[in-house]
Amino acid sequence: MNRRQILRYTAWITGSAVSASLAGAVLGGCSEAPRGTAAVSSSSLAASTTDTPLLHYFSPDQFQQLGQLVDAILPRTDTPSATDVNVHVTMDSMLGQVMDANYQRQFKDNWLALWKYLGQQNFAGRDADQQAALLSELELNTDAALAKAQRGLVEVKQQTIVYYLVSETIAEEHLNYLPVPGKYEPCISVESVNNKAWAI
């Protein structure tokens, strides 16, 4: 990862600023946040040793709900859903093994608030359109009481999108994948690449 690469991903902005840890996690971004020394308490997010896949961060219940949540964010259409490309597995692995302790703590705090809120709203029992409406409303809400749940959703959404876009299937089959460009063209029209983003 070179310095310019860092620049590219510190500017990841998806409505609210992406966390430096997330940018760093996937794309080698720049996190200047000091790394904590204490290990995160895993009491409520204990990894399961009995389930497959082996979980590193979420409990089995939470992992199941995470799968629902990421598929509500990116459902299966004519392209794969988030869980089709294992976004939830990647998220669990990255949170449990790669993210630093500060980020783990912060994420956990927000995630638990989000989990609680979604439970209160019977998220699991709703249909796809209702789920999307609920999440959209939460992301846009300005109620201070929901700030943590909202932040939790934004974090999950950002991670979902990032892991989705850098999965092999999406990158190679659904984005413009050009491993060896051969040359650099500074200005082309978006139409000339079918209005699709570059995979890498």
Partner: protein, 542 residues
């Protein structure tokens, strides 16, 4: 290479392992091919890379084989110092940022004019023709701008600014005459000419994976350029796994007679004799060898009569800058991944009209504009699916690189009470940013925001998290050049004042740090010093 092509039998001693050109194991890997999306798990970082990864982005799956493990290669600190390095043939030439900017007399005369430290014993005129020579061989893509303080060089065609970067250039020029947004000048072959770019070189493929090692030889590295050319002469021998512990001095001849090495694999101690020594082990490595070369004549390190060896440690400092979203340009995109974004040369303290009362010297920027992921707030589900595969808004980022003044008190030294696994004293650092640097940083951040505002950016955010010395991986000083043997280690030819057959042409020789990335200057100094040494040998003086 310079010595070999002049006919000298040359032994290159490298403390790390051999790496042949093309032995770049991750060069073709995509993010999804690498474990943990290219990141290294916390446990592994904690065990091996606690210092190497202090910036938290440096150690990745794609490049960790080029990075030392801290538990194998420890060092000590009075003040935090991020000494980031890898032991292998080619060293940092495989990992470098490749930006190449000429110095000018604004830099070479600064110490003298401001009464800081000591004067450089050279000026731009001494180096200009050597820049011409090394730039031509290395191959620097860039755009001539006619700036006297960052002079134009021998450029290949630039990797051009994209639409958003060009807009930034025009907006900044309009609002801030004197601030220039120009394509980064990098050692990547935008044009390949085998007659000029000798060795194992080739056309840049715009993959932007340079730091993994380039299978096309498209950027300058020792493996792709200098070593193969040296090898062709038949005069080159490379001995990897050879740790130089000290340089041997003969008081009778007042010259060095050779070096002592430890074979890293067999632990065998050997002495190798040489008529001429170029001690270029990277700034800190070089000075550590010299400090460890103690004799009756030089009890405090070889050629250290001045007492300056190890002092005046410099680097650039960064961890400051700004980014923002640029509205518009929705129909514009780019193709390929260029190996450089834009560069904004220093614009403060150039002359009376840009004079600052609050700090000396200046800063430059590197940055880029790209289209970011398309994930609008409040959009989820099928609506998001429709958008997420499309390019998002343009974002512009720039990070600022500041000059660090040469303070005598910023230093490295050896802890003779503590040895590494080879019995060599541990290196200890005692250097920090001081008031001038911190004041300069404020202006660097403020100016970045101003320029993004001038371009019409929104959602601008800035950051200023001062890095420790070393973190910019531009270590300089510690065996500085100067006119006077009483206050400097090297003369105007990079030759030790006190030991005429020892030359230092890496970053240790620097008398001030400038704002420019320094490597091309080391190369120019090296070619010049070899030419001088060759002349001295022919004249019977060495």
């Amino acid at each position: 290479m310079e010595l070999c092509t002049k006919g000298y039998k040359t032994l290159v001693l490298e403390r790390g392992r051999m790496v042949e050109h093309g032995e770049y194991p991750t060069a073709h890997d995509d993010v999804w091919d690498l474990p943990f999306n290219d990141r290294v798990p916390q446990k592994e970082i904690a065990k091996h890379y606690e210092k190497q990864n202090r910036l938290s982005w440096w150690v990745n799956q794609a490049n960790k084989h080029w990075i030392n493990k801290d538990d194998e290669y420890p060092y000590e600190e009075d003040e935090r110092f991020d000494w980031i390095r890898g032991h292998h043939v080619g060293g940092r030439s495989l990992m470098w940022g490749r930006h190449c900017y000429r110095w000018s007399d604004l830099d070479f005369a600064a110490n003298k004019e401001e009464g800081v430290a000591i004067d450089w014993p050279i000026r731009y005129a001494d180096l200009a023709s050597w820049y011409d020579q090394v730039e031509t061989f290395v191959g620097i893509s860039g755009q001539a701008e006619g700036l006297s303080h960052v002079p134009d060089g021998k450029f290949l065609k630039p990797f051009p600014l994209n639409c958003a970067e060009q807009h930034l250039r025009e907006a900044v020029a309009k609002k801030f005459p004197g601030r220039v947004v120009t394509p980064g000048r990098v050692a990547n072959l935008s044009e390949y000419d085998p007659a000029i770019h000798k060795g194992k070189r080739g056309q840049c493929m715009s993959r932007d994976r340079c730091w993994r090692g380039c299978p096309y030889g498209a950027y300058f590295s020792s493996q792709a350029a200098t070593l193969p050319v040296a090898e062709e002469t038949g005069n080159l021998t490379i001995r990897p796994n050879s740790i130089v512990s000290e340089i041997v001095y003969d008081p009778a001849t007042k010259k060095a007679t050779g070096v002592r090495i430890i074979d890293a694999e067999t632990r065998e101690h050997l002495e190798i004799s040489a008529r001429l020594i170029f001690c270029n082990a990277s700034t800190v490595g070089t000075t550590a060898i010299l400090l460890n070369s103690r004799s009756e004549a030089f009890p405090n390190g070889l050629g250290n009569g001045s007492g300056e060896l190890g002092h005046n440690m410099m680097d650039h400092h960064y961890g400051m800058g700004a980014s923002g979203v640029l509205p518009g340009f929705e129909d514009e995109y780019y193709s390929g991944r260029k190996p450089a974004g834009f560069y904004i040369p220093r614009f403060s303290n150039l002359d009376e009209s840009t004079r600052r009362d609050d700090y000396l010297r200046g800063f430059s920027y590197q940055g880029s504009a790209q289209r970011i992921a398309n994930a609008p707030s409040g959009v989820v589900g099928k609506a998001l699916k429709d958008q997420v595969l499309q390019p998002g808004a343009w974002a512009i980022s720039m990070t600022c690189f500041g000059e660090l003044l040469p303070y005598h008190d910023n230093r490295m030294y050896l802890n003779f009470d503590k040895k590494d696994q080879y019995g060599i004293p541990l290196i200890r650092f005692d250097a920090k940013l001081r008031e001038n640097e911190h004041t300069l940083r404020e202006h660097g951040v403020q100016s970045a925001v101003e320029m993004l505002e001038a371009a019409g950016c929104v959602n601008i955010s800035s950051y200023n998290a001062a890095t420790a010395p070393g973190a910019c991986i531009h270590e300089m000083g510690t065996a500085r050049m100067g006119h006077d043997p009483a206050t400097s280690v090297l003369n105007q030819w990079n030759q030790m004042h006190e030991v005429p057959n020892v030359f230092v042409t890496d970053g240790a020789c620097m008398t001030s740090s400038g704002t420019q990335n320094p490597s091309i200057t080391y190369m120019a100094l090296t070619a010049r010093a070899v030419s001088y040494a060759h002349q001295q040998i022919q004249d019977g003086n060495l």
